[in-house]
């Protein structure tokens, strides 16, 4: 009789039969389950300046494309320097006459109202977000929109308690702030940026990314419904030149940027020598570190969540998997089985796990870097899933046999591409994890509490998740080390970046 320690092994394997495999086939195919709520899109979106939708001075508009099927969703106004200046003038006026003087408890009422109105229209916003950006509806429905509302709620709660934000000191708003946000979490980034600035009493000129402007302009409708005083929030849409105009405008007392490290550096160069305050939330190449005593199945789940969440368009994505050599084969085998059951396709389908890549340009970038990985000798795994014939899609991709010198281990891919590296000791894990220009986030998977504490002090990353990944909360500050930027968003620390101490 087999005992506890002697594992029962049938003779078939020793006789050279193939190893057992699991079959993830089409025995039970799911029917389409599209989300049908009306996103209530307008055919054309103007700029939101001084509380009103206004046409751009140039009269130019550009198309916003649904990356899931390459159809045109709406026309978006293209703002030039004159439009941006008008936005700043409106913001300055609103700051001087209304918002800057308003008591915090009164500002809180507006912010609470925005949060509630967003909750009321959550389904509509989720569908619009998915159509505009390509992310799976289950993510926009269960993460982006509720989390955006949560940021407004959290900061509304701070607005009348600002005397306690810096113990022993008083705080005052900065004035008008300029903000530029990326396309990976259009509505959520908007909320991250607006809510603390509004709570602190600043007024804002903000530019969403050109591929994802729609939910920002839909939120402008909510500002109108909430009765937010004219000019408190101004939204200018457009391309890089519009963003540069927002960052460079002399009225801006502070600028906040989330996006690529490359653009962040350009902005910092252009602002050198001015007295503008700055916060930058830039790229990342996070290490997700799995030790051999980790709960492997849950670690695999965390790895999947870390890199395939939002198609990997996440600055804190766990794009480098560092796994201890003794369990590397097991982790990789389990990871492949897990990836085989991910569902890639129509982002509006409620069962879709991985949606569309945000734009044709980004798809090209991902394809280029993946080709580099293959060329440099890493082993590529992709599940054999069918992709829709139209739209921008990319299979979840796992590279094994990656070394620190590979480009796919160093550069931010910003797509569903994981590089797997191995390590032997704790020190080696720390060294490899920190051997990057970035330092935004990291993950640690182990059953040992003391090791979690050691790692969290030694990893040079703004966020270290233990036995979980991609967990966010408005109360928790988020931001980077090194070339991942500076300044924090969320929590008390995030508020301090939008005020001066007096």
């Amino acid at each position: 009789m087999p005992t506890l320690t002697e594992k029962k092994r049938p003779t078939s394997r020793s006789a050279g039969r193939p190893a057992p495999e699991l079959i993830f086939g089409d025995l039970w195919e799911f029917d389409p389950a599209p989300e049908t709520a009306d996103p209530k899109l307008k055919p054309r979106y103007d700029l939101f300046i001084g509380g009103k939708f206004v046409a751009p001075v140039s009269g130019k508009y550009f198309d916003s494309i649904n990356p899931a099927n390459e159809t045109k969703l709406a026309e978006i106004a293209q703002a030039n320097a004159a439009d941006v200046d008008a936005a700043y003038q409106a913001a300055k006026k609103a700051y001087d006459t209304v918002w800057g003087k308003m008591p915090g408890r009164e500002r809180a009422k507006y912010i609470f109202r925005i949060a509630r109105l967003l909750q009321d229209r959550a389904r509509e916003f989720a569908v619009a977000e998915t159509m505009d950006g390509g992310k799976a509806i289950k993510e926009s429905r269960d993460f982006d929109v509720p989390m955006a509302a949560a940021h407004f709620f959290y900061h509304a709660g701070w607005a009348d308690k600002l005397d306690y934000v810096a113990p022993g000191r008083r705080v005052a708003p900065l004035g008008v702030v300029g903000q530029v946000i990326p396309w990976n979490f259009p509505l959520l980034m908007l909320a991250w940026k607006l809510a603390p600035a509004l709570a602190m009493g600043n007024t804002i000129v903000i530019k969403p990314a050109e591929t994802t402007s729609i939910t920002a302009l839909k939120l402008a409708e909510i500002f109108q419904d909430a009765g937010l005083p004219a000019g408190v929030v101004n939204i200018v849409t457009g391309f890089g030149d519009t963003g540069a105009a927002v960052m460079d405008h002399p009225i801006a007392a502070k600028v906040a940027f989330t996006g690529s490290t490359e653009v962040g550096k350009i902005i910092m160069r252009s602002l050198a020598g001015t007295d503008k305050k700055m916060t930058m939330e830039l790229g990342g190449k996070a290490a997700n570190i799995v030790f051999d005593d980790a709960p492997i199945d849950q670690a695999v789940e965390g790895i999947v969540n870390g890199i395939f969440f939002n198609q990997g368009h996440v600055c804190c994505a766990g794009s480098r998997l560092l796994v201890q050599e003794t369990v590397a084969a097991e982790v990789l085998a389990k990871l492949k089985n897990r990836v085989k059951v991910l569902r890639i396709g129509d982002p509006l389908d409620k069962n879709t796990d991985i949606g569309a890549i945000n734009s044709k340009e980004q798809l090209g970038t991902i394809e280029r870097l993946v080709a580099t990985g293959v060329k440099e000798g890493a082993t590529m795994f992709q599940p054999a899933c069918k992709l829709p014939s139209k739209g921008y899609y990319f299979r979840p991709t796992i590279f094994s046999g990656v070394s620190m010198s590979h480009r796919i281990a160093r550069e931010e891919i910003f797509g569903p591409v994981l590089s797997v590296l191995t390590f032997r000791t704790v020190d080696e894990a720390v060294e490899k994890a920190n051997n990057t220009a970035y330092g935004l986030s990291a993950g640690v998977w182990t059953d040992k509490g003391s090791r979690i504490l050691k790692m969290s002090t030694e990893l040079k990353a703004g966020v270290v998740w233990a036995n979980t990944y991609n967990k966010f909360d408005p109360a928790s500050p988020f931001g980077g080390y090194k070339e991942s930027g500076f300044g924090r968003e969320g929590g008390r620390q995030g508020l301090l970046d939008y005020c001066k101490l007096v």
């Binding site: 009789m1 005992t3 506890l4 199945d297 849950q298």
Partner: protein, 312 residues
Amino acid sequence: MATPAQHVFRRLFDEVGPVDHVGIEERVAKYTTRSIKKGAKLWGLKTAVSMVDLTTLEGKDTPGKVESLCQKALSPHGDPDIPTVAAVCVYPSMVKHARRALGEDTAVRIASVATAFPSGQAPLRTRLAEVKSAVADGADEIDMVINRGAFLAGEFQLVQDEIAAVREACGAATLKVILEVSELETYDNIRAASFIAMRVLRPNDFIKTSTGKTTLNATLGNNQVMLEAIRDFYLDTGTPIAMKPAGGIRTAKQALQFLIAVKETLGDEWLNNTRYRFGASSLLNDLLRQIEKEKTGAYQAPYYFSEAAESY
């Protein structure tokens, strides 16, 4: 100094690996957001019907009650399009009545709980005698309970030897090993106990969550822990072990969520009643009601469906 019992726990946990409670809960929460529509829903519902072990385990069970249960098992809704259930599950004293009602040549199998169900607190020879008598009376399957007291005391060898002895007593009958998850309490324990059982089981013998007689029965969480143990054991040894969640699954919606867990964890080869069962009774009528709804577009009143048993 650790006691010998602690050593044996640590050794087994080291061997089978830990389970993170929060991680399991997050994983299974994703199953509940799957949206199963139309043809896929109908397939899932019918498959679930074919996986039901229609159960009555009451002190007040009578031959007449068991007979009506068997009729329901053979013809759940008088519709030839709807499959029979997998088995009826009864106490050993009712096996011969079930055999009489079902006959010898039937698609519905007879499962009998045995081994002093639900507590298992009887001498081993009594438990083995009970198993043999149930098999002699015509049981195709035996649902045994493990010795939880011995497990919690770290006497793993005893737990495993008893399972092996029951397996021998089963002869050709399929064995289902009830871990009684609510008494094991932690996911680590559930995973460890799954391995203790699987290592002495034959292909397509079952591990089963619970007796249905305690407060907490099958959940997506403990189902997932056991499915992952089955997967790891299969990939390691090539021996496929079957799974039966029991108790607490009352709605068609729940049953579909459990099946999604099977689909995404073990794959297509476990989506049949040789490898997966539901220990349930009130579940059956909800499955039938949902099938009717899918076919006709309208819900029918519960009294259009014949009652088979009290809830389990």
